[in-house]
């Protein structure tokens, strides 16, 4: 008997007197009070992110250029994914064609990307490695991550957030910069992931 067949046989034996499976109740809150992109949600997202030590700016299509310049202040090389919208492109952009080594990525000052969705309740941003976000390594190795969130991408609840993400793609859920609670259970920001997370909420 292979290990697979044996483990499955053990499970079936163990379940020979199975409990009745019941359909799980889903009467918890699945949708929030506010529609995606509502001003209340943008406000809440800002508060939640700030609470976990991310920096948040808001921008309009007109002010985006100068807001991004502020967010990228002091950087010399900024890696960007291949599908970043042209109008967001900083002068110092290094476009990732998939060939940048990890050592190269370790020398750039920042990364600038879009996202696929965000949840206000928890202050969470989701990346799904689409062309405007890039492969996972580029948002991981640089020490500063500047992420543009479009207002329409902001939902309220975690269940709503999951409906906007495709579980067959590589997903990264980000809620604030890298942190640890491993020393005396006190939260300290900044360990291995980007130590600075700057979120630009774009009201377009």
């Amino acid at each position: 008997m292979t290990a697979r067949d044996e483990v499955l046989a053990r499970i079936r034996y163990a379940l020979s007197a199975p409990a009745d499976p019941v359909d799980p109740p889903r009467d918890y809150r699945r949708t929030g009070e506010h529609a995606p992109g509502a001003p209340q949600l943008l406000q809440l997202l800002t508060e939640r992110l700030t609470d976990y030590k991310a920096t948040v700016h808001s921008a309009t299509p007109q002010t985006l250029g100068s807001v991004l310049a502020t967010a990228l202040h002091g950087t010399h090389r900024v890696v960007v994914p291949p599908g970043l919208p042209e109008e967001w492109m900083p002068a110092s952009a290094v476009v990732d064609d998939g060939d940048l080594s990890y050592a190269d990525l370790d020398t750039v000052d920042a990364v600038l990307t879009a996202c696929v969705a965000a949840a206000a309740d928890t202050g969470t941003i989701v990346l799904d490695a689409a062309a405007d976000q890039g492969r996972r390594a580029i948002t991981l190795i640089p020490d500063r991550h500047v992420c543009v969130v479009r207002a329409a991408q902001v939902v309220q609840s975690v269940p709503e957030l999951l409906t906007r993400a495709d579980p067959r793609r590589p997903l990264t859920f980000i809620s604030g910069p890298s942190a640890t609670s491993d020393i005396e259970l006190q939260r300290v920001e900044g360990v291995h992931g980007p130590r600075n997370l700057i979120v630009v909420i774009l009201n377009d």
């Binding site: 044996e6 053990r10 409990a19 918890y28 998939g98 975690v158 067959r168 005396e184 259970l185």
Partner: protein
């Protein structure tokens, strides 16, 4: 102990891994209780985390509905565990992953060692995985000449301190900042003597120490918090970014996962992603959660192996009362509220799974004869059930296991003595605790849907002694909250 027949659920074998205690709970606890530094560290840490957890749980008006949903999803999953695992295997395979099955710790270790050897690597980076501690993977790899680097800060502290984990979430919870600084100075090459004992500086020292490893490692070994059957998606919940590093940068990723971690659908995850972070670190959401399904060209590891581990889990499933312990999502909330854990710490439990969940899960995995004193490592106060995000009825399972150990060993008196000793530690400071906890417990257990018909020892002893207590003036939780304020 018992003979194993092909196809019969089997307990986790002794001799490998970290489930079999070398000394009994009361003996180990006595040592721990004498360590005042340990008790101070634990007291400070658990007080912090209880307050954080209560605050973020209080933000959700639907917390109880989420708990009920979590409990029901887990129960429904276990009822069809074979089907969900087969679906998971199909989906992972379809997306370019390779699925392996392991009956026990030794088989899992052999599989992982072979996979690493096939890549030619002689070192791996690891992201916190209780299951690889359970099976003693690092020791097995060391024997094969493969170095395993723990990358989680707390794991690193434990590894560098040549120590053992003592908490599910924060394995180095028994260490305070000054002790951690000492360990880093002693064990981390290149650390300056000027290193301060500030959490921020200590975290930065760990960052510098592991950076090169992350950027050059060829193979990573991880655990998994959840695996979604219908999509083949693996989920790792973490804080520091070491998980992202391990899951993204190496060429080969090997994930070891207990068979109970599977959940049926993507929608189910919406429940656990709300329950887990609030219960474990007391955050609305943990900083990072990574998910992947098989292999993605041009992004992340191009070789992915998933090892599905039994190691006693089918024996737990076969126990109709105990099987609920398989619902555990390893949040550690039950540890943080447990008055026994707070006094003894995690090492006393002698297993990688400490605290209330460890007191049931460990003997269920190994068979109760292998860990006969663990079901007595509790006062049955019920705080663990109240805190558990998936409503595992730990007190009832403890009582069930006590009955079983009494049946099997026919030595109830010594066991009773253990439990009474434990109760006296807890009751020794405010006596009110004992009365409130005791009365509540007896009521709870009697009221439970007829699963427990008689009260086995030591409850029989306790109920016999219940001639004079006045009714509790406050519930356990009120008392506990009050106590955190420093005035019992």
């Amino acid at each position: 102990m018992s003979k194993v027949f092909v196809g019969m659920p089997a307990h986790a074998p002794a001799g490998v891994g970290a489930l079999h205690a070398s000394e009994s709970f009361p003996a180990a606890a006595r040592t721990a209780l004498a360590d005042t530094q340990l008790r101070r560290n634990l007291g400070a840490a658990t007080t912090t985390i209880r307050a954080k957890r209560e605050a973020v749980v209080g933000e959700l008006a639907d917390w109880e509905q989420l708990r009920l949903a979590g409990q029901a999803i887990k129960a429904a999953t276990m009822a069809r565990l074979d089907e969900h695992l087969i679906r998971l295997e199909e989906e992972v395979t379809k997306r370019g992953g390779v699925v392996h099955w392991a009956r026990d710790a030794a088989e899992a270790n052999r599989i992982v060692t072979g996979l690493i050897q096939a890549t030619g690597a002689d070192e791996v980076i690891k992201v916190k995985s209780m299951v690889t501690q359970e099976i003693g993977l690092n020791e097995a790899l060391a024997e094969a000449g493969i170095a395993a680097w723990e990358t989680d800060l707390a794991e690193l502290i434990v590894q560098l301190g040549h120590d053992k984990p003592s908490h599910i979430l924060v394995p180095a919870i028994h260490r305070n900042r000054a002790e951690i600084r000492e360990i880093f100075l002693r064990e981390m090459p290149g650390v300056e003597a000027s290193l301060a004992d500030e959490p921020q500086e200590l975290a930065m020292a760990a960052r510098a120490h592991l950076r090169r490893k992350f950027l050059t490692a060829k193979v990573a070994v991880s655990g998994a918090n959840f695996a979604i059957a219908e999509t083949g998606t693996l989920v790792v919940v973490e804080s520091e970014g070491n998980g992202r590093m391990c899951l993204t940068l190496p060429d080969t990723l090997i994930t070891v996962m207990g068979i109970e971690k599977v959940i049926p659908s993507w929608t189910d995850l919406e429940v656990f992603l709300q329950l887990l972070p609030r219960s474990s670190t007391g955050e609305r959401m943990n900083p990072y959660t990574s998910m992947w399904a098989g292999i993605t060209e041009g992004d992340g590891p191009q070789e992915f192996h998933l090892v599905l581990l039994d190691n006693g889990r089918t024996a737990v499933l076969a126990d109709e009362v105990g099987r609920e312990a398989l619902h555990c999502i390893r949040c550690s909330a039950c540890l943080n509220v447990c008055p026994v854990y707070e006094r003894t710490g995690g090492h006393a439990y002698g297993s990688v799974y400490p605290g209330p969940i460890g007191a049931v899960l460990t003997p269920l995995l190994t068979g109760v004869l292998e860990n006969p004193s663990l079901p007595y490592a509790s006062t049955l106060c019920g705080a663990c059930f109240d805190a558990c995000p998936v409503r595992i009825d730990i007190p009832s399972i403890l009582v069930h296991l006590r009955a079983r150990s009494t049946e099997q060993t026919r030595k109830p008196p010594s066991a009773e003595a253990i439990a009474m000793t434990l109760a006296s530690w807890v009751m020794s400071s405010p006596r009110l605790f004992g009365w409130a906890g005791r009365a509540m417990r007896a009521g709870r257990l009697l009221a439970r849907r007829g699963r427990i018909r008689r009260l086995p020892p030591p409850l029989s002893a306790w109920t016999a002694a219940r001639d004079a207590p006045s009714p509790p003036r406050q519930t356990f939780r009120q008392w506990w909250r009050h106590r955190d304020g420093g005035t019992p």
